[in-house]
């Protein structure tokens, strides 16, 4: 007879230091990426090529911002991170979002790459938290994944629809998809990350980031197969000096215009005290 020795963490108590740090960093990375996804989806509500996509984009934005609130609530309760400070008073260089989202998404192929690849990358990380030994997160993950299903359908549908539009559009999609994948590879970080290993070792996460990235590559290759879009050109840059807190090699972060809107700076005077 075997007994299940998998630990259960109701809080951070009993977790190793690398595990605690790693958990904060990965939750922050998911929350920041979702915050930026929410912003870009919202911005595109009035720029999509068809009305149905506008409604979908608006809906995707709402669900991403809802997920941000869920993840930030975990950060607040267990790490004391104030959600208001995380958005209003944090310098851009401290954000841990996928770098592909740092700037405005100017064209629809960029939106589709964001939806089909960056959004899916975060969903894959959340999927690795299913059945997590860290109970507070486990309870939110199912709801988020349930909603993510429609994000993935939307991304996949548009990826294939654009790939059929002709050589120029397909080329644009390919460049954006490769840029998104390169950016996501950096965000996942090196395969030997100590914090990530600690999370998997403590059953907080079921898969290491390197495995999740491989699974993502399979998803994307399957989506792109037969479309003429070649995603193999995506580069894996050197990860020397990679920072687990910002999930980048160098310094970066969302541009000031995006932060201005995210922080509601234009309407600061109307903020409720």
């Amino acid at each position: 007879m075997t007994t299940d020795t998998k630990p259960v963490f109701e809080s951070l108590e009993g977790m190793s230091e690398p595990c605690r740090l790693g958990l904060r960093n990965i939750i922050m990375a998911c929350a920041d990426t979702k915050l930026l996804l929410g912003y870009h989806y919202g911005e595109w509500t009035f720029g999509t090529p068809e009305l149905e996509a506008a409604v979908a984009s608006c809906s995707l934005s709402q669900s991403e911002l809802g997920h941000v609130r869920l993840l930030q609530a975990v950060l607040k309760k267990h790490y004391g991170d104030d959600p208001e400070r995380l958005i209003d008073n944090r310098p851009a260089a401290e954000f841990a979002n996928v770098a592909f989202l740092d700037e405005q998404i100017e064209r629809w192929p960029g939106f589709v790459a964001m939806n089909a690849i960056v959004d899916l990358a975060v969903a894959r990380v959340l999927h690795a938290f299913r059945g997590s030994s860290f109970k507070p997160l486990r309870m939110s993950v199912e709801k988020m994944l349930d909603e993510e299903r429609y994000h993935i359908h939307h991304g996949r549908g548009w990826f294939r629809a654009l790939a059929r539009q002709g050589e120029v559009t397909r080329g644009s999609l390919e460049r954006q998809a490769c840029a998104a994948l390169t950016s996501v590879a950096e965000w996942f970080g090196p395969a030997d990350d100590e914090q990530d290993a600690a999370l998997v070792g403590a059953s907080v996460k079921s898969m290491a980031n390197a495995e999740i990235f491989r699974a993502l590559l399979e998803d994307v290759s399957e989506m792109a197969s037969g479309t003429g879009v070649n995603v193999a050109a995506a580069q894996r840059a050197s990860l020397d000096g990679w920072n687990p807190a910002t999930r980048r090699v160098g310094v970066g972060g969302p541009n000031e215009e995006i932060l201005f809107h995210l922080r509601g700076s234009k309407n600061e005077v109307f903020k409720l005290g």
Binding site: E50, E52, A53, S59, Y150, H154, W158
Partner: protein
């Protein structure tokens, strides 16, 4: 921009009620049809929603006409 087909959308709020027709969407494939249906017709907390390509529906009555015995 995209040229797809019409999908009819069916949904129900509880397991003990029948699926009912709630509308339709235009989409290029099943994935997009699912995303559009879910985001367009989200006024209820559906326990089930499905889409059917209109082309897969086989009409029994003559299309668009009311049978002589009424509806």
């Amino acid at each position: 921009m995209t040229f797809g087909q019409v999908y009819e959308v069916f949904a129900r709020k509880t397991h003990d009620e029948p699926l009912r027709h709630v509308g339709s969407v235009n989409a290029t494939d099943d994935d997009l049809a699912k995303a559009y249906a879910w985001t367009l017709y989200d006024e209820e907390s559906w326990v089930e929603m499905c889409v059917v390509p209109r082309s897969a529906v086989i009409p029994i009555t003559q299309h668009g006409s009311v049978p002589v015995w009424g509806n």
